[in-house]
């Protein structure tokens, strides 16, 4: 995993874990790797992983069982909300970058639907 070096790493670890959860690589109710395992896997500091996990515990997407580690929530409403937020964040980036190219919102919609039509006709 490569991190951007001008964004706090704990935020990027959170993004990485959200994705793992949304895509089902980490399943609801299942234990996630230990702090040290994650630190080695991502080549980051243990304290940084700790900080990311603490926040995710606070948000409720993870929960801690004393002495056992961190688990993914089984709260489907919260999981869906997290997924929506991830999608919105991606859309935000996309729209922002289109706007900065001088493309209006209507043009974005039009271009996108044309693009998707073309893409699907290729399949």
């Amino acid at each position: 995993m490569e991190f951007k070096d001008n964004i706090p790493i704990y935020l990027q670890i959170k993004q990485y874990l959200y994705r793992q959860i949304i895509t089902g690589k980490l399943k609801p109710g299942k234990k996630i790797p230990s702090v040290r395992e994650l630190a080695v896997q991502l080549t980051v500091n243990v304290n940084t992983v700790q900080r990311a996990l603490q926040q995710m515990n606070f948000e409720g997407i993870l929960y801690t069982k004393r002495g056992e580690g961190n688990f993914v929530t089984e709260d489907t409403t919260l999981l869906e909300k997290t997924k929506r937020e991830l999608i919105n964040a991606e859309l935000d980036k996309f729209v922002h970058s289109m706007n900065s190219l001088g493309v209006s919102d209507e043009q974005i919609l039009k271009s996108l639907s044309e693009y998707l039509k073309e893409e699907h006709s290729d399949d």
């Binding site: 070096d5 964004i7 040290r36 080695v40 080549t43 980051v44 500091n45 243990v46 304290n47």
Partner: protein, 234 residues
């Protein structure tokens, strides 16, 4: 939180030349801290003073509440390049020596580290590459139980594979409440594992900052570090 390392008003001269001037530094337990600076900035000298190898300094150095050199030494682990051993010395002979000298040396721990680093006990110092030598130094350092680990440029002149191995061993084997001070003159390749950076410039501590705090300001640690020198050249 109580400081693990405290340096107060430290000045060090050698042959009437000031090497370090008015150094003040506090490090907390449980951190990985890089000591950065150009070659010749005084990084090794500062480590030698902290470890008690260099004496005749002015000021105080306190580790885990101790400032007498003998007591300080019991709280820290510092390996200075294995320069005291003959080139024909085998790894297993160095281990034997460490066991005698250091009461806190844990041979089981060393075995685990040796296997992780893929080092052969029968190997002689003369047969080892720079990378292997640094791996051995790290394995020896982490086989001791210490509050403070001083690692003097373990990443200089080694390949990417050896660097990765050493970084992983630091992440895996650093005791939770111990602090590591690791010197280097580059930062980009190790930035992701650091809590803080300390930069020595103009004979003193130029800055001491949290890496995540630097990134909060949308700057990379590398740009921040190099920016300090670029500003001077302009």
């Amino acid at each position: 939180m109580e400081n693990l390392l405290e340096i107060r008003d430290l000045t060090y001269k050698k042959n009437l030349k000031t090497i370090l001037d008015n150094i003040n530094l506090n490090l907390q337990p449980g951190k990985i801290v890089a000591l950065l600076g150009e070659n010749g900035a005084g990084k090794t000298t500062l480590m030698r003073i902290i470890s008690g190898m260099a004496k005749n300094y002015h000021g105080t150095v306190t580790i885990s509440g101790e400032n007498a050199i003998a007591e300080r030494k019991a709280h820290l682990s510092f390996t200075d390049g294995l320069t005291g051993f003959a080139n024909s010395t085998k790894i297993k002979e160095i281990v034997k020596f460490y066991k005698i000298i250091y009461q806190d040396f844990d041979q089981n721990q060393f075995e685990q580290l040796r296997q992780f680093m893929k080092l052969d006990s029968e190997m002689r110092l003369s047969e080892m590459s720079k990378g292997m030598r640094e791996k051995l130094i790290i394995a020896l350092a982490f086989s001791r139980k210490a509050d403070l680990y001083l690692l003097d440029e373990p990443f200089s002149g080694i390949d990417a594979m050896a660097r990765k191995k050493i970084i992983n061993s630091i992440i895996l084997w650093k005791p939770e409440n111990s602090t590591i001070l690791v010197s280097d003159h580059f930062v980009n390749e190790i930035a992701s594992m650091l809590d803080e950076i300390v930069i020595i410039k103009d004979k003193t501590i130029y800055t001491h900052k949290s890496t995540e705090e630097i990134r909060e300001h949308h700057k990379s640690v590398e740009d921040y570090y190099e920016g300090l020198y670029d500003a001077e050249e302009e």
